[in-house]
Symmetry: C2
Amino acid sequence: MKTVLHGGCGETATELHTDCHKVIMPVRDALDVISGKWKLPIIIAVSRGHKRFRDIERSIPKITSKVLSKELKDLEAHKLVKRTVYDSQPVSVEYTLTAYADTLDSVINALQQWGLQHRKKIIGK
Amino acid sequence: MKTVLHGGCGETATELHTDCHKVIMPVRDALDVISGKWKLPIIIAVSRGHKRFRDIERSIPKITSKVLSKELKDLEAHKLVKRTVYDSQPVSVEYTLTAYADTLDSVINALQQWGLQHRKKIIGK
DNA sequence: GTAACCAGTTACCTTAAAGTAAGTGCTTTA
DNA sequence: TAAAGCACTTACTTTAAGGTAACTGGTTAC
């Protein structure tokens, strides 16, 4: 995993630019972690109680095991998801959200609300 | 532009899945519109008062005119940005946010806040 | 009159994300 | 004992996003 934080640019910054960058940089940092088609859907699925690999897979339309496997590893590396192996018979694996993932709640809520009204706007016209 | 809304999947839905999809689908609808490296940075730049093409270009580190041109068209198609041509001498072009784009405020704020604390967490360790 | 600014466009190329399909090793159920 | 479930992996291909660089056609400032 590459962890990137977005820093300044090489240019002479005007007041407007400086102000602007103060918003753009953190937003890009956040997008680096959560953007892509699958990361938020996976976080949502796990937060709703889907803990097992196949269970998560079934709860997210169209996802494949290959993609799920890869994204879960990314999320684990970002400390958003915890993977626990229980050596029962047979061995079972559980994925849970970390406390850190809970801090994404406001982001998910904002996106959900916006997505809902966007859908209404699209359908309603 | 393709406008996609995420609908149900073909499977028999359990209670958990139904609940889960109610969150996943709108989030994916929202991500379809705003994800990618450049859309939110552009919206932020325009909202901060950068109206002219070259001005926006300069305010966003590393963006190129090709990408900016394409993304502005996308945003216009999604009714988030308005392009106005003034036939002064020489002709000037201005980009402004629509009222609809203002509804993204809570999304941008949530991402900015999360990005800031994420940056602190990464640097602080 | 030439250099620079504006608002882009064009062609080409690289990389990363995602999709397709099949297979692995293990276990439990019918 | 054959089928199906679990948790994945591997190999290959397609698609989309983004980057590089040059160029257009107009305008204005030096």
